[in-house]
């Protein structure tokens, strides 16, 4: 157990029966075979790189890094040191996610005409520090935090993005609400809305030629489809209308099993990180060419107000 706060490190180690605790990553690296890094995103790259160089395999909390550059550093250092790098994108492990990816891989991706993606809730994470609202620690706001999940899945499901137009409400800090309009290389158009302030419907609607599929709860394991036969197909051993039950804790178990499996078979970063690097490149590109979200009640009479 490693924490900059020695008391906290000791307390958590004691609570979970860990033998060792320290305030130094370098010291920890001499005691361990693998690490789970759940520090603020901006610290992921330097910590991961030092661990890889010390011969340690690493599972990183999402987002993989606070920028695409940090993500590329992580992937490169893992490859150069022949180490395993995994990322805690838990939603990849829903059966619904995997089934939909299999369905789209089977040829349906080119049939997708439109997807409509809304995620939002009043932010209430019981954080002890303010890292998540500091751009230098977190790399961004809602788009970086929530988007690291949703943009990762968007790329897994619908392929590469061709054009994007991004809007948020960042007035010199980090955004709380954002919207992404996207055209995928497949030709599909998409809309993604993410909010840390509002309860949105938390679902994804996908409309294809002659079919539609809904992920009615992005935090659940369910699919709805029309016509009904769409979901009767089997991909990766899963039938869309008969998905085995899963709970959120199951995802964390799956994530750790995935990490252990990757270590056993010495999986490469390309295999394990998947679209995590590409999604951060897309997020970076959106931040670089951002537009102001129109909020008439914030700047009455003006189209936008961004310093």
């Amino acid at each position: 157990m490693v924490d900059l706060d020695a008391d906290r490190a000791q307390a958590v180690a004691s609570r979970f029966g860990a033998d060792d605790w320290t305030t130094s990553v370098e010291e920890a690296a001499t005691l361990i075979d693998a690490a789970v890094v759940a520090t603020p995103p901006a610290s992921h790259a330097p910590i991961a790189v030092s661990l890889f160089q010390a011969g340690i395999d690493v599972l990183l909390e999402k987002p993989l890094a606070s920028s695409a550059e940090g993500a590329r550093q992580i992937a490169a250092a893992a490859a150069a040191n022949d180490r395993v790098a995994c990322v805690g994108l838990t939603r990849r492990h829903w059966h619904a996610t995997r089934w939909l990816a299999g369905f789209l891989d089977s040829g349906a991706r080119d049939e997708v005409e439109f997807f409509d993606w809304r995620e939002g809730f009043g932010f209430g994470w019981p954080a002890e520090t303010d890292y998540f609202i500091r751009s230098d620690d977190a790399g961004g706001g809602a788009f970086m935090d929530m988007g690291s999940h949703s943009i990762d899945l968007m790329l897994i499901w619908f392929g590469e993005a061709a054009r994007v137009m991004y809007f948020d409400d960042n007035f010199g800090g980090v955004e709380a609400d954002c919207e992404l309009y996207v055209r995928m290389k497949s030709g599909a158009a998409g809309f993604v809305e993410l909010s840390r302030t509002r309860e949105l419907r938390n679902s994804v609607l996908v409309t294809g030629r002659g079919w539609s599929i809904e992920v009615p709860d992005v935090y659940g394991n369910e699919l709805r489809g029309r016509p009904a036969r769409t979901l009767r197909q089997t991909f990766g051993g899963l039938r869309g209308d008969q998905l085995p039950q899963q709970t959120l804790p199951d995802l964390y178990v799956a994530q750790l099993e995935h990490f252990a499996d990757a270590i056993t078979r010495r999986a490469t970063p390309e295999e394990t990180l998947g679209d995590a690097v590409a999604s951060l490149e897309l997020i970076d590109a959106c931040y670089r060419d951002r537009h102001a979200l129109e909020m008439s009640w914030v700047a009455p009479g003006a189209d936008a107000a961004v310093p």
Partner: protein, 366 residues
């Protein structure tokens, strides 16, 4: 070039709320004023963090936290009010006064309330109206804090200005926008008689403008100033604006005597608990009862709105005795002192303010 005084920040308490939050936005966006905000916990700072403001975590009833937050500020605008722990508002005021005196703050602006005059007398009301404890928690608490600040001002310790806003509506206004919407959507709010009691509504931006002027204008020091909108509307009109906004027709008019009798019979228990007011679903549970909500069963969640309206008789939402008095009052608030001292002129008509509120409500999914 930024004037030297603008380089010292303004401390805003209650900056995660409606008035304080909007004050931060306008200070940053329109005045290029440095802002420091004292927040109780980090997750509540999610909207504030959109702006380049200095965030400090601390409790207002902790003098050490307050002193650290006040240090180096040129002014303090005290918007915070703890509804759950009224006694702490007095402690917070004392802590602020002590810190402002210690650190030589140029101005302390306190956001009080029209409530200090409750129950409101008929006719025109200005700052000369009597303020006496009435037995209701909120007005008495606000009055106690007001008087604490007035004494401190008279003793010469801190330059204090007190702003008394009326019925503040607009984005994120908990009592007059966020709470009204679920009342109208899921219930039938009851108004007295023909709903002709006068509502002195003021759009939040006008209140914030008066606060900024109270920071800047020396004539505000030592004064209490009522701040309202450009016109009064009836309470029927006020609720009607929200009905049109939401596409519902929910208000029920009822003679005062019937409402009083219903309250006496205990029907007010059908109203919501304070904790439910922030959450439409919790509100629905509170007014409908857990069993009714359970009957809705799987339809809960995103389909709650439709399911509730189709499945369950709409409950009446009774006013509290304090609200009944407010809705019955025929009081028109004078803003002449605000005009004279602050050069204040409300910029948002009721129509304009509600139009912006409607755009916010649609975006926020109220």
């Amino acid at each position: 070039m930024t004037p030297p005084e603008m380089e010292r920040p303004v401390l805003v308490t209650g900056a995660t709320g409606c008035i304080g939050g909007r004050l931060v936005e306008k200070l940053v966006l329109e005045r290029a004023q440095g802002v420091r905000a004292l927040v109780r916990n980090w997750p509540r700072a999610i909207r504030l963090a959109r702006f380049p403001v200095e965030l400090r975590r601390g409790d207002l009833d902790n003098p050490a936290d307050v002193a650290e937050a006040v240090k180096g500020c040129r002014a303090v605008v005290h918007c915070a009010h703890d509804y759950e722990r009224p006694e702490t508002n007095v402690e917070a005021a004392r802590a602020l006064l002590g810190a402002c005196a210690e650190h030589g703050v140029d101005r302390l602006v306190y956001v009080s309330s029209l409530s200090v005059y409750e129950p409101l007398p008929a006719g025109e009301l200005d700052e000369s109206a009597p303020r006496v404890p009435c037995g209701w928690v909120y007005p008495d608490n606000k009055l106690e804090v007001e008087q604490l600040f007035e004494v401190a001002q008279r003793d010469g310790g801190v330059p204090v200005a007190i702003i008394e806003p009326t019925v503040v509506y607009g984005p994120y206004s908990e009592p007059w926008t966020m709470r009204i919407a679920p009342y109208l959507r899921y219930g039938r709010p009851v108004l007295p008689d023909d709903g002709s009691g006068l509502c002195n509504a003021v759009y939040v931006d006008d209140v914030v403008e008066s606060l900024i002027r109270a920071v800047e204008v020396d004539a505000a020091v030592g004064e209490r100033v009522l701040v309202s909108g450009p016109e009064t509307v009836t309470w029927r009109e006020f609720f009607g604006a929200y009905e049109r906004m939401l596409g519902v027709s929910s208000v029920m008019l009822m003679p005062v005597a019937e409402i009083t009798a219903a309250i006496d019979r205990g029907s007010s228990s059908a109203r919501t608990a304070s904790s439910a007011r922030r959450d439409p679903r919790a509100f629905a549970r509170a007014v409908l009862g857990e069993r009714a909500v359970e009957r809705i069963g799987a339809a809960l969640g995103e389909r709650l709105k439709r399911s509730v309206s189709q499945s369950v008789p709409t409950p009446l939402v009774w006013p509290s005795p304090q609200e009944l008095a407010l809705y019955s009052a025929h009081t028109a608030v004078s803003i002449e002192r605000a005009r004279a001292l602050l050069d204040y002129e409300p910029a948002f008509s009721f129509t304009d303010g509600m139009a912006l509120t409607a755009e916010f409500a649609a975006w926020a999914g109220l």
